[in-house]
């Protein structure tokens, strides 16, 4: 199984090397982006397979080749100088190590219900040419929500096609690898908040490790039993930190866009949040460009995120053209529930997951009021962007629960712990940023408060 996993990860991450280097250069973060970007290639292959026809395997090969050819020219123009300070290499090793510890659970964790009913059933459908399109029209598969975005099922299906068998254990390992890479990527990105100031950069290492461990802690068993929630939440949170918290820059923008694409290609709520985050990133960069004396370049911070949001519509378009209903859900509410009742029940359930919100909010307010010069000196985005992302994410999630026809108490009981991973990760990221700013707060001038100290 170890050999099969390694081969699968090579087939999924290998074709992503050149495109990732073209986007972020020879930075250590490139290592953490290989698997997620490989998943995007698998997503594109699944989309073409459904839209145009043909098998997933051939489409994956064609699109992987096309992506690499398209990346050659930008890569040659940009060059690939290795840009890795000793601290950055240590940070990479720390987040990878931190992501490895919770994987001990794989020794005993079993496949979850949704892993079988949704993600791996989708992977089964993708392994047969035409099978997925047939399922879109077949009510027998309504319980499986075949319109859900395909990043993880497509990646698993690529591995199954490679090995000629549909092993659920292999699927579990692959999905867990995606979850781990997303958690490590989040830790890395939060570590970048600590910049490179020598007198503070050491704090990036333990904080980044704690963020990675917190991601696994919040996700609980869903991190290793085949569920897609941690990958969706961590990539969305990474997009927020990279695009709205870190100092504006080309690499941060590229990481934000790639992560938003991954989130939007994994789950429906990820699609909604990815679109919202990309819009906020575009707004932040556009405001900065407007205030800048420099004439906006053609690929400005406004147009790049918006253009990159277009591919998010690929899968929804493909399934819609085949008659798939994007918001189809199973109907099992025996008694109609009023909107007010659903709203109150949803609000209580979500609030019950956000225990850290009051404390983090107070800390954030204190930090913003007292130490905003430190934040400005570090060139970090205003905490308002993160809080706006948080509010929009919670609002979108609430809207999905209120508008859906599934019996609300059952639905919340079986999912709210997973669907709130994203907002809870944002609170963790804000706490990590607060540590950075508090550590950077200017010291008061030294003064002698013991006038008789010297006699």
């Amino acid at each position: 199984m170890a050999g099969a996993l390694l081969r699968s990860l090579l087939v999924l991450g290998g074709p992503a090397v050149v495109p990732v280097l073209a986007l972020v250069g020879g930075r250590p973060v490139a290592v953490l982006l290989l698997l997620p970007v490989g998943g995007l290639l698998a997503t594109a292959a699944a989309t073409m397979s459904v839209l145009v026809g043909g098998g997933l395997g051939p489409w994956y090969a064609v699109l992987a080749l096309a992506a690499n050819l398209a990346a050659v020219v930008p890569l040659q123009r940009r060059g690939v100088p290795l840009r890795a300070s000793r601290r950055d290499v240590l940070l990479l090793l720390v987040v990878i190590g931190a992501a490895g510890y919770p994987l001990l659970a794989l020794r005993s964790s079993a496949f979850g219900y949704d892993a079988r009913s949704i993600w791996w059933l989708h992977a089964r459908l993708l392994t047969s040419s035409g099978g997925y399109v047939a399922a879109l029209h077949n009510p027998a598969y309504d319980f499986s929500h075949p319109t859900y975005p395909p990043l993880l099922p497509a990646s698993v299906a690529v591995a199954w096609l490679l090995h000629g068998e549909s092993s659920y254990r292999l699927a579990q390992l692959i999905v867990t690898a995606f979850n781990a890479s997303a958690a490590a990527l989040l830790g890395w990105t939060v570590g970048q908040v600590y910049g490179s100031r020598r007198d503070r950069s050491w704090a990036a290492l333990p904080v980044a490790a704690l963020v990675v461990l917190a991601a696994f802690g919040i996700a609980g068993g869903s991190a290793t039993n085949g569920y897609a929630d941690l990958f969706t939440a961590a990539t969305t949170a990474t997009a927020v930190v990279a695009g709205l918290v870190l100092p504006r820059g080309r690499t941060a923008l590229a990481v934000a866009v790639l992560c938003a694409e991954c989130a939007g290609s994994t789950k429906n709520e990820g699609l909604v949040n990815a679109a919202l985050v990309l819009a906020l990133v575009a707004l932040r960069y556009a405001r900065a460009d407007a205030r800048s004396a420099v004439t906006p370049r053609r690929w400005s911070g406004l147009t790049f995120p918006l253009i990159c949001a277009v591919p998010l519509a690929g899968w929804p378009l493909a399934v819609s053209l085949h008659g798939g209903r994007l918001m189809e859900v199973t109907t099992d509410a025996a008694v109609p529930q009023s909107t007010g009742y659903r709203l109150l029940t949803t609000a209580a359930a979500i609030a019950g997951q956000l225990h850290l919100l009051p404390v983090v909010a107070v800390l954030s307010l204190v930090t913003a009021l007292l130490w905003w010069p430190a934040r400005r000196r570090l060139r970090l985005g205003s905490s308002g962007w993160l809080w706006l992302s948080f509010a929009l994410g919670v609002a979108a999630l609430s809207g999905i629960y209120v508008a859906g026809p599934v019996e609300i108490r059952f639905w919340l009981a079986t999912s709210v712990g997973r669907t709130t991973i994203y907002p809870r990760l944002l609170l963790i990221c804000e706490a990590a940023t607060i540590v950075r700013i508090a550590l950077s707060a200017p010291l008061p001038p030294a003064r002698d408060v013991a006038p008789f100290a010297h006699g």
Binding site: S109, A140, G217, V366, V435
Partner: protein, 123 residues
């Protein structure tokens, strides 16, 4: 002590609380199966998955590839599992009249799949 003014003390307090939040979040990264409840849940899931794999093997030997099947099993779980296990080699239909075979699951003391047995009835 003389150099720790109120501003510095507040910065230390904020840092401590924020780090405590990170530690609290990270503390539950312990693999769930280390708790008794987590281990029991994992055991139940493992048993269920083994049962499903056993039923899938019966399905592959009892129904020829490419045939159409209708799942008539009662209970949401078995309906979903049989549909999943039939994919992609068999064609699943919701209309029993159009199916070559009807699929159901029954409990038997002699059932080799942890007390369960697949029932395949020609349509």
């Amino acid at each position: 002590m003389s150099r720790l003014g109120p501003g510095r003390l507040l910065a230390v307090a904020v840092t401590v609380v924020a780090v405590a939040i990170l530690l609290l979040g990270a503390s539950s990264a312990v693999p769930a199966t280390r708790t008794l409840a987590g281990a029991e849940a994992a055991r139940r899931h493992h048993a269920a998955n083994a049962r499903f794999s056993c039923i899938e093997a019966q399905l592959r030997s009892a129904v020829p590839a490419g045939a159409s099947v209708a799942v008539v099993a009662g209970g949401v779980t078995w309906r979903q599992r049989l549909t999943e296990l039939a994919t992609p080699g068999l064609s699943v239909t919701t209309d029993p009249r159009k199916a070559d075979y009807l699929l159901d699951v029954a409990t038997r003391r002699t059932g080799k799949c942890d007390g369960y047995v697949l029932l395949v009835v020609p349509g």
